[in-house]
Symmetry: C3
Subunit: 174 residues, 3 copies
């Protein structure tokens, strides 16, 4: 919907009154949905959006097709127990052994609400910037090589996120 | 405590530095309590307050006395499984099969903390504006006719909420 | 790392564009970790930081070595069921009967992430201001005498927190 060239500059040069920072802490389907609806909605309104994925939110950015070796026992355990990408996340409530999540996803389809996969792609097209918390990756033993391809991806710490937050108008911890 | 006429104008004309936007995502008693204490506290300080109810927060605004028909199977299921109004919500922790929630409510009474029902009414009197997320209502099959009567109720989408957030000083995602 | 004298003045006189307000609502290890990483990170960047502990966050500020008597039945129950200080909190997910929490703590040690106890002390040294919600303490039957010693501790209500939030640039509800 816009020209690819010079986009980052335009949006990132937008000034604090037009910037939104989301801390995506949760690894639940419902909260991730809220985060992406807010992020893409704000980007559609011309806001410069930063999503900082941390803690349980970090595994949502793993690429389900990528495999990496050389992990220690803890890293393997986290790798196995946490969702591998946005398509694997579950509802925080009414999951009912997975049935609730399946129901919600079919409802989203029926009601024309985009899936998380589609919203992530849309976010990329709309120049939403994604930050991944390096401390969380380190704790959970995730490697950069297993993360998704995304146009505006930055591996960073809390200081970088706070810098953006200080220069933003709206912030949410999700 | 104030004149009824012209109130909305005064508060809504207050300017961004005096506006608070709360996203009420949670359907838990404890978080709803936090949201209403913050909302009514801010309104008492003269702030213009917007509460945007979305996802699990949406069913809190159902009127327990209203019945609507014509729902499909999914709508009926969500209708039956989710709390019908603020008087039906439960603690997120220590619920203990409902006992924790009963204890918390009796404690609130004893310690003179207003109930959610009372706080919702107070919020109305204090001109707190309530937005209900239409996408959430659509997903859960809720109809406008089953929602509460409230002086300042708006059915809207994320864009309207973001507009208010952009013109606000303080925002919380609860 | 800085002189003790005159610190509060300097930071608190910093102006709204340099102030951060965190509502610490959660009593979970993961969210408390996020709160303290953000708080100490922001303080290290020179921001004036306020952490407002409310609801499930309140028991994190109990001193595990202090004992108080004279509580009623409800107060005793809350006292026994809720964590006594930051060293006792558990993960919100993957706790697995406590094993997940033990694993996470050992991981934090291995990866050189400070423990909550250390971060709380660091926060004190960095002049992070801590507010404790009096309504929550009252509900849960906590007394001032059982709370931690901390250089910048204030017992207050939501209005005091909102005043700081109104004069801050960044706010998160955690």
């Amino acid at each position: 919907m816009k020209e690819k060239e010079g986009k980052e500059l335009t949006k990132q040069g937008a000034g604090p009154e037009n910037r939104l920072v989301l801390i995506c802490f949760s690894g639940d389907l419902d909260k991730a949905l809220a985060a992406f609806v807010i992020a893409t909605g704000a980007a559609a309104m011309g806001m410069d959006v930063v999503m900082f994925f941390t803690f349980w939110g970090t595994p949502l950015l793993r690429d389900k097709k990528k495999k990496v070796g050389g992990k220690d026992l803890m890293g393997k355990m986290f790798g196995a127990m946490l969702p591998k990408g946005v398509s694997k996340v579950k509802l925080s409530k009414m999951n009912m052994g997975g049935m609730g999540t399946v129901m919600m996803k079919s409802l989203m389809k029926k009601k024309n609400v985009a899936s998380l996969e589609d919203m992530l792609e849309l976010a990329g097209e709309m120049e939403v910037r994604i930050f991944i918390c390096e401390m969380s990756m380190d704790l959970m033993g995730f490697k950069r090589e297993e993360m998704i391809e995304y146009p505006n991806l930055t591996f960073c710490g809390v200081a970088k996120m706070l810098e953006e937050a200080q220069n933003s108008k709206v912030q949410f911890f999700i």
